[in-house]
């Protein structure tokens, strides 16, 4: 205890910040999820689990949950496949590699909102540049184009494409870091044994990337699950609930309907999902080993 007191001036501020801005709101959120809170913010007493019943009983709840699963699996899956390919390329030597690596960073540093806005503009009927490109190459016959951003299904699909695009840089760099730890000798040995490029990759290189891939996947799952801006920009102006995920639904409760109690209940559900993922993460990656 004495040495903890000695440590306090050094770690105290960090603990205080985490307690006040992370732990306390978690507790408050759990508390609010069991209260009846009016739209003006007045607490009208406890209601047990009634808010959870309302949230789960909402007719679009299960479709939204299903869509969230699709959103996470498709985005993380495609991101992983794309990143493995990209990292394999960027790990090879060729003139101009540095420039390509720098280009790959750009979506990572850029605001996701702004990246999505360009795509949204590009898909607009008549004047959108992506739409007009699709017309020019003959994939669409009318200049009006398809109302990509007007229909829930297509807007959601494009949102997934944007999500993959902005997730690629982090994942690629993580796998690149993993590739640099693969000893060159093992690859050489496989070559000498007569294994071709692809075979070497799948049976020698890929297994050694296990650590990098599992970390990248878990962090991506959390990020993609928590992602709000892409869907907000792409599908936010579409009426109804046919393009919502759990996260956008929380913000609809919070902003459009001003129902803090319901928003809290759904947030609690989302939070528990995230905690479950973190628990898996800690088991798989064992980040505290040998600290």
């Amino acid at each position: 205890v004495k040495d903890l007191l000695k440590a306090l001036p050094w770690i105290g501020p960090a603990v205080a910040l985490i307690a006040a801005v992370v732990l306390f709101p978690v507790g408050l959120m759990f508390w609010n999820s069991t209260r009846d809170i009016s739209q003006s913010g007045v607490d009208d007493g406890g209601v047990g689990l009634a808010n959870f019943a309302t949230v789960v009983g909402f007719q679009y709840f299960w479709p939204i949950l299903g869509r969230t699963v699709v959103w996470v699996t498709v985005v993380v899956g495609l991101t992983l496949i794309g990143s493995l390919a990209l990292a394999a390329l960027l790990n090879k030597a060729f003139p101009g590699r540095r420039l390509v690596r720098m280009a790959v960073i750009v979506p990572w540093a850029s605001s996701v909102v702004m990246t999505t806005l360009v795509v949204h503009y590009g898909l607009e009927p008549y004047f959108g540049i992506i739409n007009s490109f699709l017309v020019d190459v003959g994939l669409i016959d009318t200049p009006e184009g398809y109302g990509w951003t007007r229909h829930a299904g297509t807007a959601f699909a494009w949102a997934m494409a944007v999500a993959v695009f902005v997730s690629l840089p982090f994942t690629t760099y993580t796998i690149l870091a993993g590739l640099q730890t693969v000893p060159g000798e093992t690859v050489e040995a496989a070559r000498i044994d007569g294994a071709g490029g692809l075979r070497t990759y799948f049976s020698v290189v890929l297994p050694q990337l296990r650590g990098a891939v599992s970390v990248a996947v878990l962090i991506n799952i959390i990020n993609v699950f928590n992602s709000l801006p892409i869907l907000r920009v792409m599908t936010g102006s579409i009426p109804g609930y046919d393009a919502d995920t759990v996260m956008t639904m929380i913000f609809k409760y919070l902003q459009n309907q001003r129902q803090i109690d319901l928003a809290s209940a759904l947030s609690v559900i989302a939070f528990l999902v995230v905690i479950a993922i973190v628990a898996i993460y800690v088991r798989v990656v064992r980040p505290l080993e040998e600290v």
């Binding site: 001036p9 050094w10 501020p13 960090a14 910040l17 985490i18 801005v21 992370v22 306390f24 709101p25 408050l28 959120m29 609010n32 390329l89 030597a93 060729f94 003139p95 101009g96 720098m102 280009a103 960073i105 990572w108 540093a109 850029s110 605001s111 996701v112 909102v113 360009v118 795509v119 949204h120 503009y121 004047f127 959108g128 540049i129 007009s132 690149l176 870091a177 640099q180 730890t181 650590g211 928590n226 709000l228 801006p229 936010g236 102006s237 929380i250 919070l254 809290s264 947030s267 939070f271 995230v274 993922i277 973190v278 990656v285 064992r286 980040p287 505290l288 080993e289 040998e290 600290v291």
Partner: protein, 307 residues
């Protein structure tokens, strides 16, 4: 797959490969790689290069078009005339006070970064140097917060900040950005501190230096790259933060650019050229910052487990 703080060695590992790599690479290209596959790599590389820059090129070209050109049916890929004056006129658009939004983004990001540094640096130093009861609990707490994002806690934060009376203030978002970037900053700096041999400290202590002097005079210069990485990451993350700002900042002028720009969507006549001009101004500086730390982008948590 080793532990994070064994990442004592990680910072060095993370910086070294590229230079060593390049040397090996040069030999490779000259001797072994057939010219055909080299061309194929370059070609694929070029495609990747173009695809990743494409949205931002569209943004840039759009930002110098006139409103009628960017909204014309059968749009142009390149601007017919380059209207640089857009970058001056865009700040006074009716949708949102963009200049104030820029100032908000800047103030919130800078203050959050300073706060993170002030809080994380001592914690990173102490946990890397000293063992004490509760140390593992603290590190575990830090790791778990890295996994939680403000989006999922917004409803709690909203009520809390109303109660404290700082809803819709810069202070609210400074605290949120600082708290949620604290863990990454702590980890990355922790790994750099852990990489410095203890003997260095001990030698200084024998010469009569106190803990504080050891930290500032001996350790700081050595962990400088870690500090820069933490600063850049925190700054860029705060700069781009969206979900919490959307709910916690209700006055237009207080909102950061990420939130402000979404107001253009769904307008009857969106001024896309202004949206893109502002985006270019907001994106270029942070991209440069990220490029400056390119070799250390994979850091902290990730680097530790990648090894």
């Amino acid at each position: 797959m080793a532990a994070v703080t064994e990442s004592g060695t990680v910072p060095r590992k993370a910086t070294r490969p590229t230079s060593g790599d390049r040397k090996r690479v040069r030999k490779y290209t000259a001797d072994q790689v057939p010219i055909g596959s080299l061309l194929l790599r370059m070609l694929t590389g070029l495609v990747v290069f173009v695809v990743f820059l494409l949205p931002y090129l569209i943004m840039f070209f759009g930002s110098v078009k006139t409103k009628s050109e960017i909204r014309s049916v059968d749009p142009t890929y390149f601007p017919t005339e380059w209207h640089w004056e857009n970058y001056a006129t865009m700040w006074s658009t009716p949708e949102t006070p963009l200049l104030q939004n820029l100032i908000s983004t800047l103030v919130i990001s800078l203050c959050a970064t300073l706060l993170v540094l002030a809080v994380a640096l001592p914690a990173a130093y102490y946990t890397a140097r000293f063992r004490f009861r509760g140390r593992l609990v603290f590190l575990f707490l830090v790791i778990v917060t890295q996994m939680v994002q403000p989006a999922v806690l917004t409803s709690g934060l909203f009520r809390q900040f109303i109660a404290v009376g700082i809803l819709d203030t810069w202070a609210a978002m400074i605290l949120v950005n600082a708290a949620f970037n604290l863990s990454f900053a702590t980890w990355i700096m922790h790994s750099f501190f852990a990489a410095i041999p203890k003997e260095v400290d001990e030698a200084a202590q024998i010469d009569g230096a106190g803990t504080f002097t050891v930290l500032t005079k001996i350790n700081l210069p050595l962990v400088w790259p870690g500090i820069v990485t933490a600063v850049v990451f925190t700054f860029v993350a705060s700069w781009n933060e969206f979900a919490a700002s959307l709910v916690l900042l209700t006055t237009a002028g207080n909102q950061p650019l990420s939130v402000a720009l979404t107001k253009f969507v769904g307008q009857y006549e969106t001024s896309w050229h202004y949206v893109f001009g502002v985006s270019v101004v907001a994106i270029v500086p942070v991209v440069i910052l990220f490029m400056a730390i390119e070799k250390r982008l994979v850091g902290g948590l990730v680097a530790g487990s990648v090894k």
